[in-house]
């Protein structure tokens, strides 16, 4: 008995396909969204809204198509990504419709009811989702387009400079008669593809060739090249497009992926230092950024209330929501006025669903990010790992930047809440993002292929006497 024995059993757990779990969650998600819609109608008009059938059928159809395509083309994909995205999108549609009903907003000059348009954009988003899943059989194909995607994302980021600024920021590409587009939303996906392809090749040089100074691994000067270029670019975006959000997203994404690829804390330290230096120096001379910072530091200022009123109203909305909220359709978040249904839609969540609802919504974003990180951990190829991390951290940074801006934690930036906020580019791009994550998770969770029968072995056995 003195022999020490190890008594562990190792067994394999087959990766289940889990498509039925996904279907169950999808039904639940659509039901919640329709409930939200009905709740708004009952609270505002006292009757079930007339468009409820169309809305419910539309959402059900979109979710159903998404589910069937995942079942067919990505049978081992993560069961949570699609239902979470559907629920956030559904709640977003209900909230936008709720703000469409607001008499205060109807009085504004440039008011237009946008809920049906948003439903149409959601349909376009789901169509893109379907297209990505059907056409992209293997995410590693994207690796071939590393440098092309660099060029494309740079073009997308630079393009808005040539168009007139909309509300102080140049983030729109406006084609007269056709509509406008926010290319930054698509650039975040394409730039993640470039970063993963680039870092996969260069990570050893970045991680290993370094000197240790005071507990920090300092990268060599020439390895600092790419990070300096990206930093300069994000500063240029900040200066020429006066868009804090995109530049923060762009640079933050790079630092996160650099850290994941190299496991060097020094990159995080460098990244934070550089973004702080850049932001402070730009804020010192750019009036648009200064104004945003001013509105963040003193939203209730007497002298500049005209500019800071939105943030002030948004903070009041969160306050009046309290713990349990005022109930859907019964808040006064429409006082925010301009951009109440896009940049500031979280204030409506905060007021009408309260802290409890807000936490639930943020947790749903958290779960999407968690599933993305889990996918990265499970992925078998380094490119897939980096891409999954990149896409999920892009989503996380975006949620942080928007939520932080609306709640007054950081200066407000012109970005939209993924899936919830009104805006065609945003919803379409985010559905594409979810599609790529689903594709990677399908590859990652697929059971490993059976070992190929070794031709050598057979031949050797034949030759053996």
């Amino acid at each position: 008995m003195s022999v020490v024995t190890n008594t562990t059993t190792i067994g394999a757990i087959e990766a289940p396909s889990r498509r039925n779990t996904e279907l169950m969650l999808l039904v639940f998600a659509v039901a919640i969204a329709v409930f939200a819609y009905a709740n708004v109608g009952l609270a505002i008009n006292g009757t079930l809204p007339a468009g409820m059938l169309g809305y419910g059928v539309g959402l059900t159809l979109l979710a159903g198509v998404g589910h069937l395509v995942v079942r067919k083309f990505a049978p081992y994909a993560d069961p949570l990504l699609l239902p979470l995205a559907t629920l956030l999108n559904g709640i977003g549609l209900a909230l936008i419709w709720r703000l469409d009903q607001s008499p205060r907003l109807k009085e504004r000059d440039n008011f237009a009811a946008v809920a049906s348009k948003q439903l149409m954009w959601t349909a376009v988003g789901v169509a893109l989702f379907v297209a990505v899943l059907m056409l992209l059989k293997d995410h590693r194909i994207l690796q071939r387009y590393t440098y092309i995607s660099m060029v494309v994302s740079l073009v997308l980021l630079i393009l808005p400079v040539f168009f007139p600024p909309v509300y102080g920021a140049r983030i729109w590409v406006t084609i007269p008669g056709v509509g406008s587009l926010q290319p930054g939303e698509f650039a975040k996906i394409i730039i993640a593809i470039f970063f993963s392809g680039y870092l996969m090749v260069k990570r050893d040089a970045l991680a290993l060739a370094s000197r240790r100074v005071m507990g920090l691994y300092l990268p060599r000067g020439r390895d600092l090249g790419p990070i300096l270029v990206i930093w300069a670019l994000s500063i240029l975006i900040l200066v020429f497009e006066t868009d804090l959000g995109t530049s923060l997203l762009f640079f933050g994404l790079f630092v996160v992926m650099l850290y994941v690829a190299t496991e060097r804390t020094s990159w995080i330290v460098f990244g934070l230092l550089m973004s702080a230096v850049g932001a402070v120096s730009v804020a010192s001379f750019e009036p648009h950024v200064q104004q945003r910072v001013q509105a963040w530091l003193d939203p209730f200022s007497k002298t500049t209330l005209a500019q800071t009123e939105q943030i002030a109203q948004s903070l009041m909305a969160f306050g009046s929501g309290g713990t349990l909220g005022t109930g859907l359709g019964q808040g006064n978040s429409d006082l925010i006025g301009f951009a109440a249904n896009s940049d500031f839609i979280l204030a409506t969540v905060g007021e009408e669903l309260g802290l409890a609802g807000m936490m639930a919504i943020l947790l749903m974003y958290g779960l999407i990010v968690e599933r993305g990180v889990r996918t990265a951990l499970a992925a078998r190829d380094p490119f897939g790992k980096l891409l999954a991390i990149g896409l999920s951290s892009a989503l996380a940074i975006q949620v942080f930047v928007v939520a932080g801006g609306v709640m007054g934690l950081i200066p407000l930036t012109g970005m939209t809440m993924p899936f919830i906020a009104q805006g065609g580019s945003s919803v379409v791009a985010n559905w594409a993002l979810i599609a790529i994550l689903i594709r990677i998770s399908d590859t990652a969770r697929r059971p490993a292929p059976a070992p190929a029968p070794s031709p050598d072995a057979e031949m050797t056995q034949v030759v053996r006497p």
Partner: protein, 175 residues
């Protein structure tokens, strides 16, 4: 709409929202895949252990039953059902053979992670061929894999109970 209805709807909506989050977290909890490591009851006779083992046995049972028909056609009498480490630091570890490939080595993603100075990171693998015969293959290791006394050069069928040596570790297939 009465005040009461609206209040009920407001709280109901929050409850449903949170219910969704909780269900999602439950799905994650049941979404584990990869390698399952089970601690069997230790020699010292801890009271809590047998109960735990029993519960784990019930959770693994349906899975094995499900696996059985899949490999039923090639399952023969006298086919090994488990792989046992009989010498080395991992002595006593068993792996249920369910038609999956078992990788051995120091790499973290191996089925059996060897903590052995003489093992390579991807040392060897053991897998069933089309007839259900278990084959051991050396994956180009530095110090070699031995079946009984002979060093492996080609994938070789493993007889029941024959010792496979990797460094100080000895592994055999048992019924």
């Amino acid at each position: 709409m009465s005040e009461l209805t609206l209040t009920v709807m407001r709280l109901g909506f929050l409850a449903v929202l949170w219910l969704f989050v909780i269900v999602a977290v439950q799905v994650i909890r049941s979404d584990l895949f990869g390698t399952r490591v089970t601690q069997r009851g230790s020699r010292r006779g801890n009271e809590a252990r047998p109960q735990q083992t029993a519960r784990q046995a019930t959770t693994t049972a349906p899975q094995q039953q499900r696996q059985q028909p899949a490999g039923g056609g090639r399952q023969r009498r006298g086919a090994p059902t488990k792989l046992v480490v009989s010498e080395g630091t991992l002595t006593g570890t068993t792996v249920a053979l369910q038609g999956q490939t078992i990788t051995l080595g120091r790499a973290h993603d191996s089925t059996i992670v060897l903590d052995d100075d003489y093992a390579s990171s991807r040392h060897a693998r053991i897998y069933p061929d089309r007839d259900g015969q278990w084959i051991v293959e050396d994956l180009g290791s530095t110090n070699g894999t031995y079946l009984d006394r002979t060093r492996l050069t080609t994938p070789t069928p493993v007889p029941l109970g024959a010792p496979i040596r990797i460094g100080k570790t000895v592994i055999e297939l048992r019924k």
